[in-house]
């Protein structure tokens, strides 16, 4: 894994005041350069200029600035099960503080060892395997302060575990990719750490058996922290495999796994050693590769995805796994993204480029991005002078007037 010290050198305003000045000065400057806030650049593909923009008749460019100087834990009372942090705080620092008190962000924020910050985590919208049981970023974020396109800091949500006052900007910021403002402060709900979790693999043989077993397991009334589907070669050399993380204590986990075994027929169920489990989860959580792409999808699409995945990419060694019981596809490989992009468009899938590779000319958003009228309008309200790089969508499908 690439160490955090390899974070590229991106200019970082020293304080909130400097950020405010930067944005306020920005609107007076050229509109052909957009600002993209970044954290630790652990997911460099997410702060790229989108292809359609770079090919526009009036070329535009982007300039990245890091929030890493907005750092530190602002408030943490373990008995309250909430934590407030500055947006540029490294995930590792937050997770260490929580761990000291037996607590965690249970959605497994990815790429902490690569220097990921909490703000980058929110902006990426990427929740890890623990999202399956506990919910994702959208379920744990309680409050978000951010700088809008006018340079005003707004404070949305509330630092308590339940709040229904005002429009829910904290959720809007999940997956906003730095295109809707600069996150400055964030508050999360936290949970107790899972007790003695251990990892099991269900070797399913072919894909059809694997999808069938996974559907069965997702409807069982048992607690599975995580459930991921891996193609041969990831956790097992020859078989499609379901990787399960089961919370303890030991006796409870064993009992749950007995039930799992009864529901998967002849498939072999085996427990991974701690070392093997750690390596597997690291691979599934951080999704490293010269090129890596995150693609939301649905469990029903798994077989089509596998059957139609471009053979050229498979021959070049590209790999895939399905996270969250088939709710997200991760693809890793090397080389140009054109084939993958075309395939995503053909299947109506939207991809987010986590790592683009050196040679790629593609932007952050690849594949088919369905028009989101709400984002378009909210972006106008937040950033009327288009200081931040815009999100790009396909043609609007909505209509002002329904046809008779």
């Amino acid at each position: 894994m690439t160490p955090a010290s390899a974070v590229p050198d991106v200019e970082a305003p020293e304080s909130l005041r400097h950020w405010t000045d930067l944005i306020r000065d920005w609107k007076a400057s050229s509109s052909s350069t957009h600002l993209i806030p970044v954290g630790g650049c652990s997911k460099p593909g997410l702060s790229r200029l989108n292809s359609a923009e770079s090919a526009a008749s009036e070329p535009v460019s982007t300039q990245r600035y890091s929030t890493r100087n907005l750092s530190g834990i602002l408030q943490y009372d373990p008995s309250e099960f909430t934590i407030s942090v500055a947006s540029g705080t490294p995930l590792e620092e937050i997770m260490a503080a929580l761990s000291e008190n037996g607590q965690t962000l249970p959605f497994d924020p990815p790429r902490a060892p690569l220097g990921a910050t909490i703000g980058g985590c929110v902006a990426s919208g990427w929740s890890g395997p623990g999202r399956w049981r506990y919910g994702g970023l959208r379920d744990f974020i309680l409050a978000a302060s951010f700088l809008d396109g006018l340079g005003n800091e707004v404070h949305t949500g509330a630092p308590v575990v339940k709040n229904a006052a005002g429009f829910d900007f904290p959720k809007l910021m999940v997956g906003s990719l730095g295109r809707l403002g600069v996150l400055t402060r964030l508050t999360f709900k936290v949970f107790p750490q899972s007790v003695e979790p251990n990892t099991w693999v269900v070797r399913c043989g072919d894909l059809a058996s694997a999808t069938l077993h996974m559907q069965t397991l997702t409807r069982l009334p048992v607690e599975l922290d995580a459930i991921e589907l891996c193609q041969p070669g990831m956790t097992d050399l020859h078989d499609w495999s379901i990787v399960l993380r089961v919370p303890g204590p030991e006796a409870v986990a064993e009992s749950i796994m007995d039930r799992v075994q009864r529901n998967v027929g002849e498939a072999e169920v085996r427990r991974l050693s701690e070392d093997h489990a750690e390596k597997s989860w690291s691979k599934l959580l951080h999704v490293e590769g010269e090129v890596s792409v995150r693609i939301p999808m649905t469990p029903r699409q798994i077989e089509t995805v596998v059957q139609t995945f471009p053979s050229e990419l498979t021959e070049l060694g590209w790999r895939m796994h399905f996270g969250l019981a088939g709710n997200v596809l991760f693809v890793t490989g090397a080389g140009d993204l054109q084939i993958l992009n075309s395939w995503l468009i053909e299947h109506g899938l939207a991809g987010l480029l986590l790592n683009a590779g050196d040679a790629s000319t593609h932007g952050t958003q690849i594949g088919m991005w369905r028009h989101d009228e709400v984002v378009v309008r909210v972006a106008k309200a937040i950033d009327p002078h288009r200081c931040f790089a815009p999100l790009l969508f396909g043609e609007p499908l909505h209509t002002k007037r329904l046809e008779a």
């Binding site: 707004v154 339940k162 005002g166």
Partner: protein, 481 residues
């Protein structure tokens, strides 16, 4: 604008589905918060999404305010009509379009009743987790508009966490689809953003909801305490033991008395407060956790501990809790329910200060609250027939909300701001934040027709005061949280 100006709208609907008669106006003059009323100029009853859209577009073009309404069980006046506008009654859009057990989703129209979703999902071993107390009546559209919670949102979260996508008509009549069937999403979470918009940005037409496996077993415990602080401390002890119950609810002495009088729930005699704790999950996990829970509770000096031995006893425990506010009608002709939130560590202090304020202003209060998440539900009692009594109760309610803000909490945990709390909205959010909310609203609803007069403190919203229980509450059909 005169009533006759609605002629164009009337032409879009059959006569029996566009009503302007006093009976219809009166039936829709308030939601579950009866202290505020206003009669709409008309009520339309669309039966399709296209009809909803047509009505919104007509209203947009003619600058007529619109209030979308499901079953009218909201408690913040969020569905109170505007006197210059119309109500769009959405109950007839009540079809469950699809239940997908593989993807664990249900796609439903906005007028589908909350409980009906779980009933449709049950044959597949699934259910819809958000469970507001009015779930047998309230609609998914209303749940989305106010991001409803319920006793079990401590563990499972609010409606937003269970809404994956929706079709929505914005305030200018634009129809758009947001989100998808996947748990994951690429781009900003606009579905989550629109949940809880209080009907001020648009109207959800249909939604795809996330379903969860039905819990295999429940373990419900009723614990009596000599004072309410001990009950609050027990909540802290349970959380400190790293347990995450499905629900934790506290009721004070006055609430117990009301519930006992109304439904003879059989709560421990002489208890000054009761704590309800419910574990749920797989049989093996609940078996393990109930041992831990028993140990923790034993260390909190309870005066009584009762464990539900079967479903009937479990439901009896919940019946007492869920009936308490409507039961309060036996103690007082009128009441206001607040739902501010405080950090959990402040619960004890908040309750003491509420009691102190109650003594000072002479307005009695009973307390029920979702203890696990610090969500207070003080029940402020008054007699609306006494001049000034409502104003005194309302002032007291706002003082409680200010206390919540002072303690770092929120003015609403699940009921929304609506008409009722807009007076303190600006005390929770600063000017740049409210300004941004206004800018967003202007983009989504340029003529501000959707639920005009709600949430924002400077908005005009004509209303009258009145008193009494909601007719459905009187009938024991719906309950307040």
């Amino acid at each position: 604008m005169k009533a006759s100006d609605l002629t164009g709208l009337a032409e879009l609907f059959p006569a029996d589905r566009f009503r302007t008669d006093p009976a219809a106006q009166a039936a829709f003059e308030s939601d579950g918060l009866l202290a505020y009323t206003a009669r709409p100029r008309g009520v339309v009853f669309p039966e399709t999404a296209d009809e909803v859209v047509s009505a919104v577009r007509w209203c947009y073009e003619h600058h007529v305010p619109v209030v979308a309404r499901g079953s009218g069980t909201g408690l913040s006046g969020g569905a109170m009509p505007h006197r210059d506008g119309i109500v769009i009654a959405l109950n007839r859009l009540n079809r469950i379009l699809h239940v997908d057990p593989v993807e664990r989703t249900a796609t439903v129209q906005c007028g589908v009743v909350n409980l009906a979703v779980s009933q449709a999902a049950r044959p597949h071993g699934l259910y819809f987790a958000p469970d507001p107390s009015s779930q047998s009546v309230c609609t998914i559209g209303g749940n989305i508009a106010f991001n409803s919670g319920g006793a079990h949102c401590l563990k499972y979260g609010m409606t937003a966490g269970h809404t994956l996508s929706m079709d929505v008509v914005l305030g200018d009549g634009t129809v758009t689809s947001i989100g998808g069937s996947s748990l994951e999403h690429a781009g900003p979470d606009t579905t989550g953003f629109l949940c809880g918009n209080e009907g001020m940005l648009g109207i959800a037409l249909q939604a795809t909801l996330r379903l969860l496996p039905l819990p295999e077993v429940f373990h419900t415990v009723l614990v009596g305490y000599d004072d309410i602080r001990a009950a609050g401390n027990a909540v802290g002890a349970i959380i400190a033991a790293n347990l995450l119950p499905g629900a934790m609810e506290i009721m004070d002495a006055m609430s117990i008395r009301a519930a006992e009088a109304a439904v003879a729930c059989g709560y421990p005699k002489n208890a000054n407060s009761v704590l309800i704790v419910e574990l749920e999950g797989s049989a093996e996990r609940v078996a393990m956790e109930k041992e831990i829970l028993a140990e923790v509770i034993a260390g909190t000096q309870p005066s009584a501990v009762e464990i539900a031995a079967n479903d009937a006893e479990r439901l009896a425990i919940w019946k007492g809790r869920k009936s308490v506010f409507s039961a309060a009608g036996r103690l007082s002709p009128d009441f206001i329910v607040q739902d501010g939130v405080v950090p959990r560590r402040c619960l004890g202090e908040a309750l003491e200060r509420i009691e102190s304020m109650s003594r000072e202003c002479g307005v009695p209060v009973a307390n029920v609250f979702h203890a696990g998440d610090g969500n207070l539900h003080p029940l402020i009692m008054y007699d609306g027939k006494i001049p000034g009594a409502f104003d005194a109760a309302n002032d007291f309610a706002h003082a409680i909300l200010r206390l919540c803000i002072e303690m770092g909490g929120s003015i609403t945990g699940e009921h929304g701001v609506g008409i009722e709390k807009r007076g303190v909205f600006a005390e929770m959010f600063d000017e740049p934040t409210i300004d941004l909310m206004h800018r967003v609203r202007a983009e989504m609803d340029p003529h501000e027709i959707c639920n005009r007069g709600k949430m924002f403190p400077d908005a005009e919203s004509p209303a009258l005061s009145t008193s009494g229980l909601h007719p459905l509450e009187k009938a024991g059909v719906i309950f307040r949280e």
